[in-house]
């Protein structure tokens, strides 16, 4: 028997007591949220960011980007805690690392997470990149996000390079000697780049503090900013379908001028409107 409005059993009137309770519960949560939303629109933005449509045939490979983000957040969190105890001077750096590893409560764990998490971060970056490449998810209109992602890869590897010196042991020292001298072999600008990285003629206290500043402040700040832009573009452009999907990964593109009104070429609207 099909259910029609006539045959559907009448909805029993909700019990007054239950309704009042749920109402109160919803109000308890929603009223403060609404209060904030009315004044800032931030909850609306969070809703726009999280509750969006994704292709029905998206799969586990699509989670590699989130995994990379998680790895970065782990690096950021553990890095801040390590900075509580680390001292970036040639006389104290190695001893402070030993102190973190052997004396600080659970210091070995936090340092281990940071050390091994660095490799996890880089590996996940490459896996995520491979997924985007093999799925063709870099195609129009997502090229810019590919470029931003590649910049993030370079910044991540720079994080690896600068972080490697900080334990200040023999491996760190000589690996950095070789790394800086590799930069120095670049034509024309190489010698300047090497001297900038060293902070002088030879590796010394300046090198350690320069690498520390890059590793702690400059590079993470850039990475944070670019991740925000990266995520904004992911939400704005949507998640692409896998190759076996009936949907195409890249959108078809008009030849010639860009569609729609732009900031730089407002005439496009008038011409293509016809």
């Amino acid at each position: 028997m099909t259910v029609t409005p006539e045959t559907r059993p009448p909805v029993p009137p909700p019990s007054r007591k239950k309704k009042r309770f749920t109402d109160r519960l919803i109000a308890l949560v929603m009223v403060p949220v609404d209060w904030i939303d009315e004044r800032s629109a931030i909850p609306r933005g969070v809703h726009w960011f999280l509750f969006r449509k994704v292709p029905s045939d998206s799969n586990w490979f699509h989670t590699l980007g989130s995994a990379t983000l998680t790895a970065f957040l782990v690096q950021a969190g553990t890095g801040v805690i390590l900075a509580f105890y680390y001292r970036p001077t040639p006389d104290e750096a190695y001893d402070s690392i030993r102190y973190i590893t052997h004396d600080v409560t659970l210091g070995w764990l936090v340092r281990g997470m940071h050390k091994w998490g660095a490799s996890v971060f880089i590996i996940l970056l490459f896996l995520h990149m491979a997924r985007v490449f093999l799925f063709g998810a870099y195609k129009y209109p997502r090229e810019l996000n590919w470029v931003i992602g590649f910049t993030l890869l370079v910044l991540g590897m720079l994080q690896g390079f600068t972080g490697y010196l900080l334990p200040w042991d023999q491996t760190a020292y000589w690996a950095t000697v070789v790394g800086i001298n590799l930069n120095g072999t670049g034509p024309i600008v190489g010698p300047f780049l090497a001297q900038f990285l060293r902070g002088g003629d030879e590796i010394g206290p300046n090198t350690l503090t320069i690498f520390y500043a890059f590793h702690m402040l400059l590079l993470p700040g850039l990475i944070f900013f670019l991740i925000l832009v990266h995520l904004y573009l992911v939400v704005r452009l949507g998640v692409s379908s896998p190759p076996w999907s009936p949907e195409r990964a890249g959108a078809p593109r008009l030849d010639g001028e860009p569609r729609g009104p732009g900031l730089v070429r407002p005439r496009a609207r008038g011409r293509f409107a016809r």
């Binding site: 040639p90 006389d91 000589w174 000697v177 070789v178 800086i180 001298n181 590799l182 120095g184 072999t185 034509p187 024309i188 190489g190 010698p191 300047f192 780049l193 090497a194 001297q195 900038f196 902070g199 002088g200 003629d201 030879e202 590796i203 010394g204 206290p205 008009l254 030849d255 010639g256 001028e257 407002p266 005439r267 609207r269 008038g270 011409r271 293509f272 409107a273 016809r274």
Partner: protein, 313 residues
């Protein structure tokens, strides 16, 4: 049918002299980096002036092209186009004062940003262009260097910096040559990528000497090198420092030396393309100090035109 854009249309903006001047300015900056600092400033001024003129013309030409597209196939301005054109500058009419205020706000903001940012950027970048600091290290009495024997010396080139300035060099006394004492001082820094070169051969640790000079400890260990070799990537050198195998691009760096009150003093390092002959009669093709992996002679040397150096001749 949509209009096709290609070489049939005249280029917009048209040809102008400003890009050439801009390129000349940039070339002047690059050449100035090699030759002289004032040329950098002159080149920068040329580049900025011509760049501004270029940008102004480009913007003017772009605006012109919008008003009257030149010769494009369906270039009939419709009413819709004209309407749109009218409100590209915003719905409200712009008064000159309005434009002036906008420009002056942007200009003032730019000046303030430059005043704050330029010293900071300079502070961060300029040390890379500073000249090399020269140093002298007293290696102890010359009696500790018997004729013909290799001594591996370990010292601090800058005691103020501390242990991180520890370096190693190989020293050999070649005897008297034309009534002057001759020493060979070879740096242990591999000229491939800067790893520590080792003396391949027996090492007489039991005969190590430690000398205190000016409260700085110098260790002297006799070694019997058949050659010098690098543990990192297999670079090999003969006992004069010439490359014999592996990736290094030139011979090992050497040090100048001085004799003060019967002490051997190690002075600035310099780079060496190759060494002909041996010992006191060696002919050394020396150059200013350059980083590992950088060619000093031949065409490849042109890739590294400028080196921070302050070497006494």
């Amino acid at each position: 049918v949509e209009p096709r854009h290609g070489d049939m249309e005249p280029h917009s903006p048209g040809p102008s002299i400003w890009p050439v001047g801009f390129a000349v300015g940039i070339a002047c900056v690059l050449a100035g980096l090699v030759v002289s600092r004032p040329a950098v400033i002159i080149g920068a001024i040329i580049a900025i002036v011509f760049g501004a003129l270029w940008a102004r013309d480009a913007m003017r030409a772009g605006r012109h092209a919008e008003e009257a597209p030149a010769g494009g196939p369906p270039a009939v301005a419709t009413a819709a186009d004209l309407d749109y054109e009218a409100d590209t500058d915003g719905e409200v009419t712009r008064y000159p004062r309005n434009k002036f205020l906008e420009l002056s706000t942007l200009g003032l903001g730019g000046v303030i940003t430059a005043v704050v940012a330029l010293p900071v950027v300079g502070f961060a970048v300029l040390p890379a262009f500073r000249d090399q600091v020269s140093f002298e290290v007293d290696l102890g009495p010359t009696d500790n260097f018997p004729e013909g024997d290799w001594i591996e010396v370990n010292y601090l080139y800058d005691p103020a910096v501390g242990d991180v300035s520890r370096q190693t060099a190989f020293v050999r006394y070649n005897g008297m040559f034309q009534e002057h004492p001759s020493y060979t001082l070879i740096s242990n820094r591999c000229v491939h990528l800067g790893c520590p070169v080792q003396a391949s051969g027996p090492r007489e640790d039991d005969q190590r000497k430690e000398v205190e000079v000016n409260d700085v400890r110098v260790t002297q260990t006799p070694v019997l090198p058949a050659n010098f070799s690098c543990p990192c990537h297999g670079g090999a050198y003969d006992t004069e420092g010439n490359r014999t195998a592996g990736p290094p691009v030139r011979a090992l760096d050497r040090f100048k030396f001085d004799l003060v009150d019967g002490h051997l003093v190690l002075v600035d390092r310099y780079s060496v393309a190759k060494v002909e002959g041996e010992g006191a009669r060696a002919r050394i093709y020396g150059y200013g100090i350059q980083g590992p992996g950088e060619h000093v002679d031949g065409f490849s040397g042109w890739l590294y035109p400028i080196q921070p150096q302050d070497l006494r001749s």
